[in-house]
């Protein structure tokens, strides 16, 4: 897009001019997909913007947006932008107390909310939010007896009257917008301290949208399902920025519970989901296959073997033997095609996942049945746009190449630094935080540690603050090591040590379900977790896993030093009740190191056995002791060139 289409409202009006009858927004309402064309969307936004203006919304003000993905909420964001205001989408599932912080921090006067549930929460927060004066709701259900709130229809009606009385107003306001105006304020999740409002300009989000659309060749004929929280930067990029940039169609599901059905009905061409969604889908498929008749199961497993062998290679356009090619074509007809259809992924050209580590089996499964699943890397501060995996160059453990227009640099400590047009303008009212995260050269400090592999792909390994150094200077990224180990279904939890030491050692928790099942199939009797964990057979099983990880590490010179030399299987499961894990099941590294100091000493002092007694808290609140003599096992390590030859 050329010319002065450098703000979202101007882009929207351009679509209304160029493709007035092209579908822009769909929503399933009362069982039927309703469509709004670009012309209709522009008209709705115009009425809204005029309504807000008539009620006193002015340039630079903030408009809170709270609710599930509804067309009107997306339009409200555009309406605020038309007036030079800033939409502030908020997480709709947060309790009223959390609303309060954001509403106050952003000095919200106007809020557009979805339904009664959200209105109740906003009204609960209102007494503590002195600025909040105007509340509009989308869904009138249950709203009859509320006072001091206005319906969406009423707001648009006011707007249409205002528009008739001031005909030039709307166009003048849109013309007044500048590309470096702030277009949206997104709050960081606040896992580290209070949430911060990240201010992004039109220019930043349009650059990110343009880069992404160009990279994956997205155009007006694409279609996506908008179902992830509107307050999340990813949704803002896909469902607003790229939507208004490329002019494709966004589809809003009927409700949170119907997403899978809606996905199938819409058959999007472009899809985003966090790893857990892909995992749930796969689990459902597998469960249904288990229930299928024997011939169907046989066909499924036969062809999934073929897909595993060559599906991903075919997707990447790499050479594949003719026999496999034929097998895959047949599988396409019998298994992969119908399966993609059931998943609602028949039309998908590009699917992305991000946000957490995705398991290798999971990733390979989707790619092998012909779904172009890729990973990306970014954050709220970078419009979710830093690295993308190119078609034909997808690697499981990297996040891809720096995206067009983005510079990525690795700092001395391993931290990933990025620079480009998509960087945040500032944190709202937090000049200290802004100064801290953007350095003199304009690089943003992501807080993530990573490195480039030999193909120039960025590999994110850990949070920068967790990364340490081995005594020989090699990098030590505990989460990276632990995640690698934890991908084995037999291993539930792992804690790696090595900062300031000569080598890496680890504690391992077995997965009682998976290993228990394994033991039963072998006729191995055990009485409980502690007993099972101490079995020599189990140690052997875990050793194999650890050695596989070591071989993988050895093949990559950057992490060759991270190979696990010695490990032990803990006598009890790490548990949030014993303060060893957080409630979200993250290891509390410092606490564990202190509590099990004797075991760490044993790992590094070369002892073969160590006695330990630990106090545990049972679920009913009583406490007891668990004692065991733990065996410390050695794992084979590899030198990098041996591994390379093997690989």
């Amino acid at each position: 897009m050329a010319g002065n289409h450098d703000t979202f409202p101007r882009l929207m009006l351009e679509h209304a001019r160029v493709r007035p009858d092209h579908p822009a927004t769909r929503e399933k309402d009362l069982g039927i997909w309703q469509t709004w064309t670009w012309r209709q969307v522009a008209d709705e936004v115009r009425a809204l913007a005029c309504g807000l203006a008539a009620q006193g919304f002015r340039r630079g003000m903030h408009l809170a947006i709270i609710g599930d993905n509804r067309p009107r909420l997306y339009w409200s964001m555009l309406a605020a932008q038309c007036l030079g205001g800033v939409p502030v989408p908020m997480y709709q599932d947060a309790p009223a107390a959390e609303f309060m912080f954001v509403l106050n921090d952003a000095e919200i006067d106007f809020a557009v909310v979805e339904d009664q549930e959200q209105v109740d929460k906003v009204l609960e927060a209102k007494p503590q939010v002195p600025t909040l004066a105007h509340i509009y709701y989308d869904d009138p259900r249950g709203m009859r007896n509320y006072e001091g709130v206005t319906s969406f229809e009423r707001l648009q009606q006011v707007g249409r009257e205002f528009d008739r009385a001031n005909p030039g107003f709307f166009d003048a306001e849109v013309a007044n917008g500048r590309t470096d105006d702030v277009s949206v304020m997104l709050y960081t999740s606040g896992t580290t301290g209070k949430p911060k409002g990240v201010r992004q300009t039109h220019h930043a989000f349009i650059s990110a949208a343009a880069g992404g659309c160009g990279f994956d060749k997205l155009g007006p004929d694409d279609s996506i399902l908008s179902y992830l929280p509107m307050a999340w930067v990813g949704d803002h990029l896909f469902s607003l920025a790229q939507w208004v940039y490329a002019g494709f169609t966004i589809n809003c599901p009927e409700s949170g519970d119907t997403v899978m059905t809606d996905l199938r009905e819409i058959g999007p061409t472009y899809y985003f989901a966090p790893p857990r969604v892909f995992e749930n889908l796969l689990t459902q498929v597998m469960i249904r296959m288990e229930d299928a008749s024997r011939p169907k199961r046989w066909i499924f497993h036969r062809f999934m073997d073929v897909a595993r062998r060559c599906g991903a290679e075919l997707l990447d356009g790499r050479p594949v033997a003719t026999g496999d090619r034929l097998g895959y074509a047949l599988g396409q007809l019998l298994v992969y095609g119908p399966l993609r259809n059931v998943l609602g992924m028949s039309r998908i050209r590009v699917a992305y996942t991000a946000g957490a580590a995705i398991g290798p089996d999971l990733f390979r499964f989707y790619r092998s049945i012909g779904i172009n699943l890729k990973q990306l890397y970014g954050s709220t501060e970078t419009c979710a746009y830093v690295c993308l995996q190119p078609d034909g160059g997808v690697k499981l453990d990297t996040v891809g190449l720096p995206a067009p227009g983005v510079e990525v640099r690795i700092a001395d400590g391993g931290e990933v630094l990025v620079r480009g047009p998509m960087l945040l303008k500032e944190y709202y009212k937090r000049p200290d935080a802004t100064a801290e995260s953007i350095d003199g050269e304009g690089f943003f400090h992501t807080g993530d540690a990573g490195y480039f592999d030999s193909d120039g792909h960025l590999k994110i390994i850990d949070r920068a603050k967790d990364v340490g150094k081995l005594r020989n200077g090699g990098i030590f990224a505990p989460n990276y090591i632990e995640n690698k180990v934890k991908f084995f279904p037999h291993i539930k939890e792992a804690v790696a040590f090595g900062d300031g030491r000569d080598m890496v050692c680890a504690f391992v928790n077995i997965d009682i379900g998976s290993v228990g099942n394994w033991a039963e199939r072998r006729g191995l009797a055990y009485s409980g977790y502690t007993d099972l964990a101490a079995k020599p057979e189990v140690y052997e099983l875990i050793r194999e896993c650890v050695e596989q990880v070591n071989a993988e590490f050895a093949a990559d010179p950057a992490v060759a030093d991270s190979q696990i030399h010695r490990f032990l299987v803990l006598h009890k499961e790490l548990d949030p009740d014993d303060d060893e894990l957080t409630r979200t099941r993250k290891v509390r590294r410092g606490f564990v190191a202190e509590k099990y100091a004797v075991l760490i000493d044993a790992l590094y002092s070369g002892k073969a056995v160590q006695h330990i007694a630990t106090q545990v808290k049972f679920e009913d609140g009583r406490t007891g002791m668990v004692a065991a003599d733990l065996v410390i096992a050695e794992a084979k390590t590899f030198t990098s060139d041996v591994a390379q030859r093997a690989a």
């Binding site: 309402d29 009362l30 069982g31 039927i32 259900r141 249950g142 009859r144 009927e254 409700s255 519970d257 119907t258 059905t261």
Partner: protein
């Protein structure tokens, strides 16, 4: 069933006077009188075997009392059969769910619209003209109810595969599809867990508020009854022993004795 109807308790729409019902020598109801006002939620409570379900069956014409007068919307009722009750705007749900297990949720709710379809079976079979138009109109109404009761996600699921709480909700949806002026609920919350009960209470109140539907409900859970009803009738061994607001009933000595027992 207009969306604008206010929730305002109006005049008596159903009056039961001196109802007595006996099956051979067993007296299920003796000399029970009470009335139901428009837009109210009226509860019938009582220990097991008190005659609650019999009372409901009398109201919708399944049982015919030997004595007594029933006046519904100003007309005194003669012998009546259930489908006539349905025609007059009385719908009900059952204590033991009575849905078509093999049919989808949507189809089950559509059956609630049956009385409103005028097309003949032949027209419906070829799905043409009047039949098609009616189907579309009725489907729109059903979708409104599906949205109202938040069961969009199970629209196409066979009822037999649903958990109990959702089946109950589907049954309520089917009763609502008939756009009843009087809705009879036979233990709508039996066998539900606390969360399902809360949901159901919310829906009953919402229906009453949104559509102004008058309801008569039987319920064992005292907390529920006291929270959502406007007035309560208490039966014991087929006799009425109390009638009034939840607070009045709670303070009624005969009711306390019936529920807690008395030392004889």
């Amino acid at each position: 069933m207009s969306a604008e109807s206010e929730r305002r308790i109006g005049d008596v729409i159903l009056a039961l006077e001196n109802i007595s019902l006996a099956f051979g020598g067993v007296k299920a109801l003796s000399d029970v009188s009470f009335d139901v006002r428009e837009h109210e939620i009226r509860a019938i409570i009582g220990p097991n075997g008190a005659g609650k379900s019999s009372m409901l069956n009398v109201i919708n014409g399944v049982y015919h009392p030997q004595l007594g007068r029933i006046t519904f919307r100003g007309t005194q009722r003669k012998q009546m059969v259930p489908h006539e009750a349905a025609r007059q705007g009385i719908a009900r749900t059952f204590q033991n769910i009575a849905l078509f297990k093999g049919m989808t949720v949507l189809d089950n709710i559509m059956t609630g619209r049956n009385l409103r379809m005028k097309a003949t079976i032949v027209e419906q079979a070829i799905h043409f003209g009047r039949a098609k138009r009616e189907e579309l109109e009725n489907r729109a109404k059903v979708e409104e109810i599906i949205d109202f009761l938040q069961i969009q996600h199970i629209r196409k699921t066979p009822v037999g595969r649903l958990p109990y709480g959702l089946m109950k909700r589907v049954e309520l949806a089917r009763a609502l599809a008939a756009e009843p002026s009087l809705l009879l609920l036979d233990e709508p919350m039996a066998g539900m867990n606390v969360e399902e009960k809360q949901d159901m209470c919310r829906f009953i109140l919402d229906v009453n508020e949104q559509y102004g539907t008058t309801m008569v409900l039987i319920e064992h859970d005292m907390g529920v009854v006291m929270d959502i009803s406007d007035r309560v009738v208490v039966l014991d061994y087929g006799r009425k022993i109390g009638d009034g607001t939840p607070d009045e009933v709670r303070a009624n000595k005969a009711v306390i004795d019936a529920y807690l027992g008395v030392a004889h």
